[in-house]
Symmetry: C2
Subunit: 519 residues, 2 copies
């Protein structure tokens, strides 16, 4: 039995206090390999906290690889790799530290040294459930990671080996900070074919779109600047903006994308430095901005002289309808920075994304790229280029778009069959998520906890809201589960929601949650 | 003939104004492929600027791949890759832009939007000569890049293909933000074998040591914080610290490394937030901190409660003598963050480095790593691990240490033979550079310009000084040139220095430069 002590006066969130102490217990050997942890329910009761708090702590510790959950069996301490050499426990004692000294190296008090902006970056907290920790038997609707089973492993291996044999030492040195010229040229050509005006020297290769957002924020944001975003929006972007001391202003999203009149109101109230948007298959709402809204937005930004950061992380994953022009294609001022990634559509492990921006901006971004990590691996850029120019990316896209369409269809069909009439959900034309609005009075946290205890992981909608938002939304991804698993998982989720509705009716003493408009 | 207009009232340095206009001229086709540019001497005369200003501009434009220099032939416009699709010139016109509109997309005025901190990051300016632009026939003593001819291409290709075949999709998804567990374990074990107290969860894999410095700075620095550094020091670190709004305080370096009494004085004057040091083969002075100084430094930092960032970018490249314990090995407070990289010793193109720090710090760094680029490519980490565990890294190190020792010996022998008695230089026990102090009255800028015009690139010492420093130092790297090239290049450099001494004697009207103590 492990002892966990919670300090409610501490600023550290309770779930993190639990996670830290659990991790420490595993690392110190107080919890042995394969030892079973208490259930979330049991530990929550013992500690007097919400069950979700414990679930979040477990998810964090699992994300670090220390423990793992198995449906129907429980959560267990796991072996985390190949610790060889001296025993870990010995390694934790600093030489010369007195016998009374804490064996914890953190006794130095680093936390008092952390910068204000890094504190702000952490406050947001990436939803642990989004980390894609899936164990056999668990159905995940929580992770936006693409399905590894769909990775084009063999064609990519062949491309990689080919460039290694052909280019050898030429691709093993530092590459140009802006990126591999041929890859930049290929991307520029692709963007031009989609109506954008871009030359290859207006492309910067980044280590995934996350770095793209980070570099743009670094180039533009000073502490106190405001950034206008869709609300809800991508948590990873919120954290980046916070980390540069920016304040966020949100505008709601409906079936036609962000509501431009609300953006206009926000701009009138407080002039932002930047607008960050995902016009295609917005994360998490899955909505796509209509052409009329795109035009209105461009006009609004032009009038206010505001630059736009357009995040098109998944625009290639369209199942039906035709592509709408990107904001960058509609823009005539050179005021749009467009970014995307090969992570969602191809291979996350490459960590290759790109930014397309006017030259003055790309020059600044390249300077910042140099001091951030000098350049992205030339070897991987060359392999990716080799893979793409022989048509393997196009072949792969045809395949995954088919597969993900099947999964979306499965999810929508299963929802129609299993969800109660009062629930509403989006009907995405592409991307990897469905956004659910639960019936009034049904708490998303509780549904998520129930589902997790029955082996289905979902994304809590409030995590994507700037202000913590309402407890009425779930983000369900269909990138990881097969159609069969989707049917099973959605049926179970439907049962849980209906149960909650019945409970709400039978337990009138529970104050009904406020009913909120669909966003 | 191109027209270049310099605005001397503009804050933009003259060399950058020239570089921008040259780049634009190439991009717009005003300078055609293979067209010869004026010599630096000729253009300098025409523009009424120092020849070095033009040389620096050319180096910048060459670094971007637009032009290239060939000894004895001159500088030419170069093709920069594979621009396919629409002609570049067409791509530069934005649709809908009026006929009077500038075709330059930067008309939006991005430069007015750049954040204050990104401005500060740029001010430092990476020495263009350090970018490793080497053309056939040019001897480079300017680039710290390892020699591609020494890359273990075939063993690495084999390791890469082996893990791709064995692991497939498992290494093509997002990896853990902290890094591949097995690689972290391997690194921790290696550090323990060198006397450091580190467990695998105290290791964070970074995209090169540049990212390591960036993440640590991001975690610790707020605008206005002071960072104590060796002076001269690594420019890439200075830019990072500036980019978070920090101020830098320098302490000089002698043959035993940084002078601790000077650090003490600096701390007394203004309490810094962090000390950044390279104890082994310091860049650029090549000096190694003595054991006594290491102990004194640890004691000083402990007394002042200051954390230390120890950059051991090249500690494995030791040619003679025995390794001294790292600051982290000597530290008993858990107050040292240690970082290193596989770039210098193995393959820069992997972009893999690491940070070893107490757990509280690594947890913060992992959070920041997530929002910076989520994680470093799992595929490359797995390939690197595979390469290392079969002894290939050790074999490679034996080989490169031998080769670089030969080159150092060649450089020192050539200097002894060719340099005038009044010049002084370091005798590095490892690493990749020699630090030269020129005879009094000989200007390093002029020597560098003369050498460049005769096909030898050297690093100007003042670029590494916080305050621009003196014009008395050169940084000469021996990582790229063969022993034969080293003999030839150093002889030529010796001739130039002697010539400058003679000129100094024969032209007494030139005011002698102030003689400065060796640092």
């Amino acid at each position: 039995m492990i002892a966990i002590h919670l300090d409610r006066k501490d600023d550290t969130p309770l779930f993190r206090q639990i996670a830290c102490q659990l991790t420490e217990a595993v690392q110190r050997g107080r919890l042995g390999r394969d030892q079973r942890l208490p259930t979330t329910r049991e530990l929550a009761r013992r500690l007097g906290v919400n069950r979700l708090t414990v679930a979040r702590a477990y998810a964090e510790v699992a994300a670090e690889g220390w423990i793992s959950s198995h449906v129907g069996r429980g959560t267990f301490v796991k072996d985390t790799g190949q610790p060889s050499g001296p025993r870990r426990s010995g390694a934790l004692h600093r030489p010369g530290a007195g016998s009374n000294a804490s064996p914890d190296a953190s006794s130095y008090g680093w936390s008092e040294l952390f910068s204000r902006n890094s504190e702000r970056a952490i406050d947001g907290g990436l939803p642990a459930a989004a980390l894609g920790i899936t164990e056999p038997g668990v159905i995940s609707f929580a992770s936006l990671f693409p399905d590894p089973a769909l990775f084009p492993v063999e064609p990519f291996r062949a491309a990689l080996d080919k460039v290694m044999r052909r280019e050898g030492h030429r691709i093993l040195g530092y590459g140009p900070p802006a990126g591999f010229t041929a890859l930049r040229g290929m991307i520029a050509e692709n963007l031009r074919s989609r109506g954008m005006t871009v030359s290859e020297d207006e492309i910067v290769i980044t280590s995934g779109s996350q770095q793209g957002i980070d570099l743009v924020a670094r180039a533009l944001l000073d502490p106190g600047d405001a950034v206008l975003v869709e609300n809800p929006t991508y948590t990873g972007a919120v954290q980046v903006f916070h980390s540069y001391g920016a304040e966020l202003i949100g505008a709601p999203v409906d079936q036609e994308g962000v509501i431009v009149s609300r953006l206009r109101e926000a701009i009138a109230r407080r002039r932002p430095k930047l607008i960050y948007l995902m016009p295609n298959f917005q994360n998490p709402t899955s909505e796509t901005m209509s052409l009329a809204r795109r035009h209105a937005l461009i006009e609004l930004a032009a009038g206010a002289g505001l630059p736009i950061l357009e995040d098109d992380f998944g625009g290639d994953l369209r199942f039906e309808g035709t592509d709408l022009p990107s904001l960058k294609a509609l823009d005539q001022r050179g005021s749009v920075i467009y970014l995307s990634t090969f992570a969602k559509k191809l291979l996350p492990g490459l960590r290759i994304g790109w930014i397309a921006a006017p030259r003055e901006m790309t020059q600044r971004l390249v300077h910042l790229k140099k001091i951030t990590d000098y350049s992205t691996s030339l070897l991987l850029q060359a392999a990716l280029h080799e893979f793409c120019i022989h048509g393997d990316l196009d072949r792969h896209l045809l395949n995954v778009v088919d597969k993900y369409r099947e999964r979306r269809d499965a999810m929508l069909a299963a929802m129609k069959r299993s969800f109660p009439a009062e629930a509403r959900w989006s009907r995405p034309k592409g991307g990897l998520v469905v956004w659910v609005t639960l019936p009034p009075g049904v708490d998303a946290d509780e549904v998520a906890a129930d589902a997790q205890s029955r082996g289905v992981l979902v994304g809590r909608g409030d995590l994507f809201h700037l202000d913590g938002g309402t407890k009425q939304n779930l983000r369900l991804t269909f990138s990881q589960a097969t159609p069969r698993e989707i049917h099973r998982g959605i049926r179970l989720l439907g049962d849980i929601i209906k149960q909650r509705i019945r409970r709400r009716r039978s337990e009138p003493q529970t104050p009904p949650a406020e009913s909120l408009p669909l966003i």
